[in-house]
Amino acid sequence: MTNESLYQSLYRIRRVEEEIAKVYPTDKIKSPVHLSIGQEAVAVGVCEALETRDIAFGTYRSHALYLAKGGDMKQMIAELYGKDTGAARGKGGSMHLIDLPKGIMGTSAVVGTTIANAVGYAYALKYQRKDAVVVSFMGDGATDEGVFHESLNFAALKALPLIFICENNQYAIHTHQKLRQAQANIWERARAYGMVSERIEHNDVFKVYERVKAAVDALRAGQPGPYFFECMTYRWKEHVGPNEDYNLGYRVRSEAEPWMQDDQVPRIGALLDSSVRQPIEAAIEAEIREAFAFAEASPFPAQSELYTAVYDEA
């Protein structure tokens, strides 16, 4: 982790998603997109603490995770375009991103499902004596689900090399956490299963990095897991789609403003000399242009693809 790498990752995610939002009204992306704009710091802080061999599972809102973990941008944009060159050959779309060489094991449209998958993966890694950790991303909404409880219980029971990251943006679609949970204490619930658990306030990329790095180091040293981090953050855009939604009335813009003022992208950018920052930005802009051009130019999957990959017939 360096300020450069942090900025590189933050800026890359922000700018890719801004481009997606810009392209979206043209209907070239004919599938739902759940943007992470405003929330990048969590994925970036976490992934800076990981190695490529470490494994991440995410939610349908995982552009940030995918990019922060090193996912291939071309394949991601092509996937959003439904193209054959996409990460899932167009069969998955934005909600089902995957990049195996980068340890991105998949993202799911059904809330909570990947939490359990991550637990199983961590169990396997431990059994295989592999020197890698698993990270399981979830929203605050996912912690309402029974699978959250069952997964945490099993992970604690087996002391798995696993880090749970709850991206608490306080909303599940338009429903605030306080309308879903009597107490705003997700991290305390996790602690009750017998794991180290902590809330990280303020969408602070350095704090996220530090705490997760310490956990990763401990796990690599063979100490028992899992860890739980409730990372407070905020979604700037609508739940799904490219626009803002403060007009809907379920939240007010003034709630968002402190988070916007605390935007981690310029915050980290400001720590860099412009001679360092500008080449980073320019390279990313070029990468983005290339990724979109790649997606545009790529073919759709052939009709015969409808019937492939249902089963592994090997």
Binding site: K91, G93, H174, Y250, F300, L306, V310
Partner: protein
């Protein structure tokens, strides 16, 4: 059955809203809840205004907890309420199967008839704009399989309203299946309250040569196919089963007895689906009477792909249905109608 008042045209979503509103007004034991029922989007408008009118005890959003909220709905029903539990995707019912099948469907029987579970579970099937693998499934055959549940999948705004009222008033658990694309349909709906009685199919076009049974959204494709077929002189009878459990097999059998040919077009996979049941029952019922020809259509036997390039071939279209019907009526020939703009499938435009 009330005859449709042809003057008052409203959407399917408005019909759902109106049915709920009228029943809630009539009966204080009716409550409605589920993820996002009280949010600004109000489940595509189907719950709009209910919170303001009936208050948050009767209209409420829930935590993300499909299993326990289904169990809670059953508990409410046992206590004398008439809960309506809403899910924005049918796929999420897979989290609620234990309560639906092990508890709701069985309570009356396993407690010797002492209790009943007047519960309505609304769920929506998604299609187009990249709904993909996990937001597109039509899984109602699971509920048809299990005794103790009722299943209904209305196609028109008229039936949407009448079936919802019928479902709310029924003392048994009713799986009420909607289709996102049908939400946009408009049609005549009387303002006054009425029910569409369970277990009765509707003949939506009269014909002689072949019977088309179209389930849920596929009813629309069958009606379009009927028009394509008319252009080549084939007269198709079209049936909307409306209720899948109890299923009005008599109406379907009577039609096939006449036409000798049956195409069942399902809004789900065919294997062990509603189309298998209908085909099997018709074959059993008519085997001693006359030879018949049967053909089933439904989702391609694959997971639903997200890319529009493949999604288009995942679903049978009206032209596919017409072509298949043609093939049964005039075996040995092949025909595929030219696409007509007025018979095109409506696609949903995103974000979601």
């Amino acid at each position: 059955m009330t005859k449709p008042d042809l003057d008052r045209i409203i959407t399917y979503t408005e019909a759902l809203r109106e049915a709920t509103d009228q029943e809630m007004g009539r009966d204080p034991s009716v409550v409605i809840f589920g993820l996002d029922v009280d949010d600004p989007k109000a489940i595509q408008g189907t719950t709009k205004g209910l919170l303001q009118k009936y208050g948050k005890e009767r209209v409420f959003g829930t935590p993300l907890a499909e299993d326990a909220m289904t169990g809670a709905a059953i508990g409410m029903a046992l206590a004398g309420l008439r809960p309506i539990h809403v899910h924005i995707r049918m796929d999420f019912l897979l989290l609620a199967m234990n309560q639906l099948i092990n508890v709701a469907a069985k309570s009356r029987y396993m407690y010797g008839g002492k209790v009943n579970v007047p519960l309505v579970v609304r769920s929506m099937i998604g299609k187009s704009w990249g709904q993909g693998a996990q937001h597109s499934q039509g899984l109602y055959s699971f509920f048809m399989h299990v005794p103790g549940l009722r299943v209904v999948a209305p196609t028109t705004p008229y039936d949407a309203k009448g079936c919802l009222i019928e479902a709310i008033r029924d003392n048994n658990p009713v799986m009420y299946v909607e289709h996102r694309i049908l939400h946009f349909q408009k049609g005549p709906v009387p303002e006054a309250s009425y029910t569409v009685p369970m277990g009765k199919a509707r003949i939506t076009a009269i014909g002689e040569d072949i019977t088309l049974v179209g389930i849920s959204y596929m009813q629309l494709e069958c009606l379009r196919a009927q028009r394509y077929l008319a252009t080549v002189g084939i007269s198709a009878e079209v049936i909307d089963p409306i209720w899948l459990s109890p299923l009005d097999i008599d109406t379907i059998v009577a039609s096939v007895r006449k036409t000798g040919r049956l195409v069942v077009v399902d809004n789900g996979w065919t294997t062990c689906g509603a189309s298998a049941e209908i085909a099997a029952q018709v074959a059993e019922r008519l085997q001693d009477e006359r030879p018949i020809k049967i053909h089933r259509m439904g989702f391609a036997p694959v997971t639903c792909p997200t890319t529009p390039a493949l999604e288009a071939s995942f679903y049978p279209t009206s032209r596919d249905v017409a072509a298949a019907a043609h093939c049964l009526v005039r075996p040995g020939t092949t025909w595929m109608p030219e696409e007509r703009a007025d018979l095109q499938c409506i696609d949903f435009k995103g974000p979601f």
